[in-house]
C-alpha cells in the first residue's frame, strides 16, 4: 500500500474539513435578538432640555397615536414603516391572549410604538432634539407631524389638524414643554 494519498482521498478530506468549518460557523453564529423591548431612548445633548420623553409617551401620548393612526388598515398594518400597536388593532405576538379588540395595550407594545415614532427619522429626530429652544415649527419638519398634517404627502390623507388637542399633545411632547394631559385625553377620544 502506498503512503501517498490518491486524488479522491484528498478530495474527501478537503470536503470533510470544509463541512466541519461550515458546521462550526453555523454553531458559533450569534442567536437572533428576540427581545421585545428595544430599550430605546433618545437623549438630547447635555444642557439641552429633554424632548420626546419616553415616560410621557407611555403615560399620555401613546393613546393618541393608537386612536389616530393605528387602525388595521393604516399604521396598524405589518407593512407600514411607522407601525403602531394598539388594543383595537395590530398586536405584538404574545402568549397572553392579547388579540385585536381583546386586552389593553401591553408595555411591550407601547415600547415598540415609542421606538417606531422616534425611529421614523432617526437623524432628523436627533437634530431636532439637539435644538434649544425647540419650536412647534421645528416639530412640523418631522414626518411624524408633517404627514398627518398634510405638509408632506400622506397616503392616508390628513389625519391631524393644527391646533386640535391630539396635535397639541404630540407637539408639546416633542418639544418638551409642560404637557397638558387633558389635551392628550381629548386627542385619544374618537374624532
Amino acid at each position: 500500500m502506498s503512503g501517498a494519498m490518491t486524488r479522491s482521498e484528498r478530495w474527501r478530506i478537503g470536503a470533510l474539513i470544509l463541512g466541519a468549518w461550515a458546521a462550526a460557523a453555523i454553531a458559533c453564529a450569534s442567536t437572533p435578538d428576540d427581545s421585545k423591548d428595544p430599550n430605546l431612548t433618545v437623549s438630547p445633548p447635555a444642557g439641552v432640555p429633554a424632548g420626546a420623553d419616553p415616560t410621557t409617551f407611555r403615560t399620555n401620548v401613546n393613546a393618541v397615536f393608537e386612536r389616530r393612526c393605528a387602525s388595521l388598515d393604516c399604521h396598524g398594518a405589518l407593512g407600514r414603516g411607522l407601525r403602531i400597536y394598539s388594543e383595537n388593532g395590530l398586536r405584538l405576538p404574545n402568549d397572553s391572549g392579547l388579540l385585536p379588540g381583546a386586552g389593553s395595550t401591553s408595555s411591550d407594545e407601547i415600547n415598540s410604538n415609542y421606538a417606531s415614532v422616534v425611529g421614523l427619522q432617526p437623524e432628523k429626530m436627533n437634530d431636532f432634539l439637539a435644538k434649544s429652544p425647540r419650536t412647534p415649527d421645528d416639530a412640523y419638519q418631522l414626518d411624524i407631524l408633517a404627514k398627518p398634517l398634510g405638509l408632506e404627502k400622506h397616503k392616508g390623507g390628513p389625519a391631524l389638524s393644527k391646533g386640535e388637542p391630539a396635535e397639541q399633545c404630540i407637539v408639546t411632547w416633542l418639544i418638551g414643554t409642560p404637557l397638558d394631559a387633558t389635551l392628550c385625553d381629548q386627542g385619544a377620544k374618537p374624532p
Binding site: 387602525s71 388595521l72 397616503k155 390623507g157
Partner: protein, 220 residues
C-alpha cells in the same frame, strides 16, 4: 421596399411597442397577485359573488370591475358560522358627518353582501360604522381609516391564519349565529374562498360547523 411601406411598417411597430408599454405600466403586480390569490370567478360576477372577500381590489376606479365602491363588505351571522345575514342595515358616517343618501339605504343581500357606489357617496375618511338587524346592533369600536374593503382587516377565516394582525369575519349575532335559529335561506352560492381554496362548506350550514376558535399562528 417603397418608402411609404417602410414608414407604415415602422408606425405599426411603434404602435405595438406603445401598446405593450401602456399595458405593462398600467398593471399593478401587487394588486393582480392579490386578485389571483382570491381564486377564479366560479359563476357570474353579480352582487352575490365572493362573499367575505376584499371587494375594493376590483371595485375601484380603474379596477377590473365596472363598478367603483366606496365601501363594501359582507355581514355574517356568527364568528364561527359563515352564514350571510340578509336584510341587515349598514349605517355609515364619515369625517364630514355625511352618510350615504337616505334614498338608497345600505342593506345586505341574502349572502350578506353590501356595497356603496362611489357615485352615490364618496366619503371623507375616517368612517364610523354600525350594523343593525331587528333588535340587534353592533358598532365598530375603532374607525375605518382608509380602506373600502371590510375584508382587508376582517378575514372570512375560521380559524384566523394570523390572529394578531387581522380580525375575524364581521358578525352580527353571537357565537351560535342567528338567534332565530336559522339564517334565511339563500339560493345563491356565496362562493367564499380563501386564497383560491374553498372553505369548509359545513361552515355555511346554518347551525353547523361551529368549530372552536383556536389560533394556529404562533410567533416563530
Amino acid at each position: 421596399m417603397s418608402s411609404r411601406r417602410l414608414v407604415s411598417g415602422a408606425a405599426l411597430v411603434l404602435a405595438a411597442a406603445a401598446l405593450v408599454a401602456v399595458q405593462g405600466c398600467s398593471a399593478d403586480p401587487v394588486q393582480s397577485d392579490a386578485i389571483s390569490a382570491l381564486g377564479k370567478e366560479k359563476g357570474s360576477a353579480n352582487e352575490f359573488h365572493r362573499a367575505g372577500q376584499p371587494c375594493g381590489l376590483c371595485h375601484q376606479k380603474g379596477g377590473s370591475a365596472p363598478s367603483d365602491f366606496s365601501v363594501a363588505g359582507t355581514i355574517f351571522a356568527g364568528p364561527n358560522s359563515l352564514v350571510g345575514v340578509d336584510g341587515a342595515r349598514i349605517d355609515l358616517v364619515d369625517a364630514n358627518k355625511t352618510s350615504p343618501p337616505l334614498a338608497t339605504p345600505i342593506i345586505t343581500n341574502c349572502v350578506g353582501n353590501f356595497f356603496v357606489r362611489r357615485s352615490d357617496w364618496d366619503p371623507a375618511f375616517p368612517l364610523s360604522v354600525r350594523v343593525t338587524k331587528g333588535g340587534t346592533s353592533r358598532t365598530m369600536s375603532s374607525q375605518i381609516s382608509r380602506t373600502s374593503s371590510c375584508a382587508d382587516c376582517h378575514k372570512a377565516q375560521v380559524p384566523l391564519v394570523d390572529p394578531f394582525s387581522s380580525l375575524g369575519p364581521i358578525y352580527l349575532f353571537g357565537p351560535d349565529g342567528d338567534p332565530a335559529g336559522k339564517a334565511k335561506e339563500c339560493d345563491r352560492d356565496p362562493d367564499v374562498t380563501l386564497d383560491g381554496t374553498p372553505l369548509d362548506r359545513s361552515l355555511f350550514v346554518p347551525g353547523g360547523g361551529a368549530k372552536p376558535w383556536s389560533p394556529t399562528w404562533r410567533k416563530p
